[in-house]
């Protein structure tokens, strides 16, 4: 099965906006997208949470528990900088298991709160549903 990564226009705009204020931070996200797009086995295994220190560049994948509890298959993908620290920005990615398609839904800062009921959390869930990704029981 081939796996795909799709970038939502809203996420595209968020990264573009970041590039206007912090070029290097946006480039770290672009590099993460490039890395995921380049290697099929990485996409194939992306939804298996855990550290990915073995990849160049290294990144981490974690379940977004608050979303998972609502049946939404959403993961946080964080890029690990060469000095070992995590990059300030990360991608929130939804996974459509039946199609093998990942959707970059939202760009978020490391201090971003994923508080249930918050505007950004609701926005994230809306984007997930608009992609047609199933809600899992």
């Amino acid at each position: 099965m081939l796996f795909d990564l799709v970038i939502l226009p809203e996420c595209n705009q968020e990264i573009a906006a970041l590039s206007r204020v912090d070029e290097e931070a946006a480039a770290e996200i672009d590099l993460l997208i490039e890395r995921l797009q380049e290697d099929q086995p990485e996409l194939e295994n992306l939804c298996i949470p855990g550290n990915r220190y073995n990849y160049d560049p290294a990144f981490e994948v974690k379940l977004l528990v608050a979303a998972q509890k609502r049946g939404k298959n959403i993961y946080l993908v964080k890029y690990r900088l060469p000095d070992g620290d995590l990059a300030d920005y990360r991608l929130l990615i939804g996974y459509h298991a039946q199609h093998g398609t990942y959707y970059a839904l939202q760009l978020a800062h490391r201090n971003h709160s994923y508080e249930v009921g918050s505007e950004s959390f609701n926005q994230l869930l809306d984007r997930y549903e608009q992609c047609g990704i199933p809600t899992y029981k």
Binding site: M1, L2, D4, L5, V6, I7, L8, P9, N12, S19, E23, E24, A26, A27, E28, D30, L31, I33, E34, L36, Q37, E38, D39, Q40, P41, N54, Y55, D56, P57, L81, P82, H96, H99, G100, T101, Y103, A104, Q130, C131, G132
Partner: protein, 119 residues
């Protein structure tokens, strides 16, 4: 692979959605963002002085994506991914061509190919 392709059905992209490859082409078309991405690759390719760079780190240190290196080598991006994943697939000629395309001594690529992917 042909069979997998037959059974793979990418859902139609909605308005404004971009496949990652097209998104990255958009980034590369912007000189400012392309330069920033190249700098990010170089930073990602750095290792400690005592460590040996992997093949992917050598490529990143040159500021190149797999697609860009593939173009320099006259091959396809999946081949670069395959070699970086398992450098044992590389013959001597390929190693020398890799080194020339990256502007590094062949010895650097020989060492990287012995480190392997994910070391």
């Amino acid at each position: 692979m042909q069979v997998c392709t037959m059974f793979h059905s990418l859902p139609a992209l909605q308005a404004g959605q971009l496949a990652a490859a097209d998104y990255l082409a958009q980034v590369e078309a912007d000189p400012r963002r392309a330069a920033a991405l190249a700098r990010a690759r170089v930073r990602a390719g750095r290792v400690n002085a005592a460590a040996t760079q992997t093949l992917s780190q050598l490529r990143l240190s040159a500021g190149l994506s797999q697609a860009q290196l593939a173009e320099r080598l006259g091959t396809q991006q999946p081949n670069i991914a395959r070699w970086e994943r398992d450098p044992r697939n590389m013959n001597v000629e390929t190693i020398h061509r890799f080194a020339a395309a990256l502007g590094v001594p062949p010895d650097a690529v020989f060492k990287a190919s012995s480190v392997g992917y994910g070391a």
